[in-house]
Amino acid sequence: MGAATIEHPKTRSSVRQEDNNGPAPIYVVCSPSRGVGKTLVARLLTDYCVAGRRAVAAFDLADEGPQLNDYAPNHAKVVDIGDVRSQVRLFDSLVATTDVTKIIDVDRRQFGNFFIIAHKIQLFEEARRQGIEPVLLFLVDPNPKAAKAYATLHDWFPEVTLLPVRNQLVSRDVPRGGDFPHLSRLSVCLEIPLLRPALQAAIDLEGFSFVDLGNNTPRSISGQPQDELRLWFRRIRVQLQALELSLLFEQVMTELGARQEW
């Protein structure tokens, strides 16, 4: 498959996609709880894709700040799913293009609505029919509501990759497995390591970009804190690479299996 130029709906410039490895996935970052790190994970994913020169479109369902759009204004936009018209705008675009990685930051208040609609219109089934792999990245936390929501997602979407994501700041006391079993066929663990409060505050500043770390052009951090942060981001980047490779491996195995049957 050759390179393709993708026009993101928000950016005026286009991001050039390298010779790609197949349809780009849809990542749904979600949790019914507040303050567990959804937006952080969405930012990390977005900046990881941008740093790797991959076409990415991020959708922010949050209506309370700070929002993904505040950190990645060139790649993210705030969307609404309150009426059918806005649902058409969002969900139709999710399955229309296969060469742009899509990241959806689902706010806790939209959690139920988003997945009810997805279930009703068979969003993930349609995505898979288009060759797009949906991945649900569920932020784990001790709230019983989270465990219930995780189980519900597994019931409703048994064929969809559901990965528990552990933000060490929040899920330290949540036993591994247990209420959040790793049921996906992907052999990947996603864990956001702890960060010193001072660095946490730095990355929470509006406009901070993890892409800048890689480009050696930090905005507000220098010296040892910058190295610490780069190490922290590298640990996450390795996990995201593993996730991408796992998805690619699954895709290849699926195609091989299909060819063998044929």
Binding site: V84, Q87, V88, F91, D92, K120, I121, Q122, E126
Partner: protein, 306 residues
């Protein structure tokens, strides 16, 4: 072999979604490979025909030739189900006419399965119409359809009043058609294709369309719920009843001479001018043909179906 079935859809007034329900039924039977033909009585343009042109004829139910086209060919058309979408406000007169020509007797004698889908409006007039209609449908299946278009709330009075009417009609069965998003409704209307084709993203000629995935999803979800209602009331079982031995006995029946006299008056009520008396005779119905021959000696014209 299943005996033919006739499904009549009617409503007291327009705008309650009668043709929408007709369309869901046509898709339901097509999905279950049940051969169906439809008659759209919104003469001359038709509304149902726009969505199912291959199997729908637009007819003028007040015209005798069109009446013959519908009722003379029920057993000979080769289709299992005949669906008639009756113009709003004409259901009770149509049923009375069917009674008077002996069609409802065919139901009693198990020659035909007859079902009526009464699409309800939200006013108390609908309840009166139910009581009136139900008297004519002792041997037919009577389905009361609550179609929740436009967030209709059915009946503004209390549950007791509601129950008092429905308790008088023990053999009626309720069907609920849930609301479909207005935007989805609108797009299906514009596409002018059956619901199943819209869901499958197909144009009328079978080519791929560019309908919204979200709207297709909503229509699919809605149609599945409607079909679940039809499954719940065992609609397929109702219309697939095998032709019992009673058919042979029914074929030897006589048409009572007295009944023939009222048929003219019945269809005259539907026609602009008084119609010539017509007696509908199936060509392979030997008993009825003998009776018709006897009647012909008394009456100048007997219409024989082709």
């Amino acid at each position: 072999m299943a005996r033919p079935a006739v499904i009549l859809l009617g409503a007291d007034k327009g705008g309650v979604g009668k043709t929408t329900v007709s369309r869901t039924l046509l898709d339901y039977f097509a999905d279950r490979k049940i051969s169906t033909r439809a008659f759209d009585t919104e003469w001359p343009k038709g509304t149902l025909k726009r969505f199912h042109p291959e199997i729908t004829d637009v007819v003028d139910v007040t015209s005798v030739p069109d009446q013959m086209k519908i009722f003379d060919t029920i057993e000979t058309s080769g289709t299992q189900v005949t669906l008639i979408d009756v113009r709003a406000g004409l259901m009770s007169p149509t049923l009375r006419a069917l009674r008077d020509i002996g069609f409802l007797d065919m139901t009693k004698w198990n020659q035909v399965t007859f079902a009526v889908f009464h699409i309800l409006g939200p006013s108390i007039a609908s309840l009166d119409e139910i009581a009136e209609t139900s008297k004519l449908l002792v041997d037919a299946r009577y389905f009361l359809v609550k179609n929740f278009i436009n967030d209709t709330s059915f009946f503004d009075w209390d549950q007791d009043t509601y129950n008092s009417y429905f308790n008088r009609i023990p053999h009626a069965v309720e069907i609920t058609v849930p609301k479909l998003s207005e935007m989805a409704c609108e797009q299906v209307e514009l596409a002018s294709v059956p619901f199943a084709s819209f869901i499958g993203n197909k144009k009328r000629n079978g080519e791929l369309a560019v309908n919204s995935f979200v709207l297709r999803g909503y229509v699919r979800h809605w149609l599945q719920k409607v079909w679940a209602e039809y499954d719940r009331v065992k609609l397929c079982d109702v219309i697939s009843k095998a032709d019992p031995a009673a058919t042979a006995a029914a074929a030897a029946r006589e048409i009572a001479p007295a009944a023939a006299a009222s048929r003219d008056a019945a269809f005259a009520a539907l026609s602009a001018t008084a119609a010539t008396p017509r007696i509908f005779v199936a060509k392979d119905d030997a008993g009825t043909r003998d009776a018709a021959a006897r009647l012909q000696r008394q009456e100048p014209r007997v219409a024989e179906s082709s």
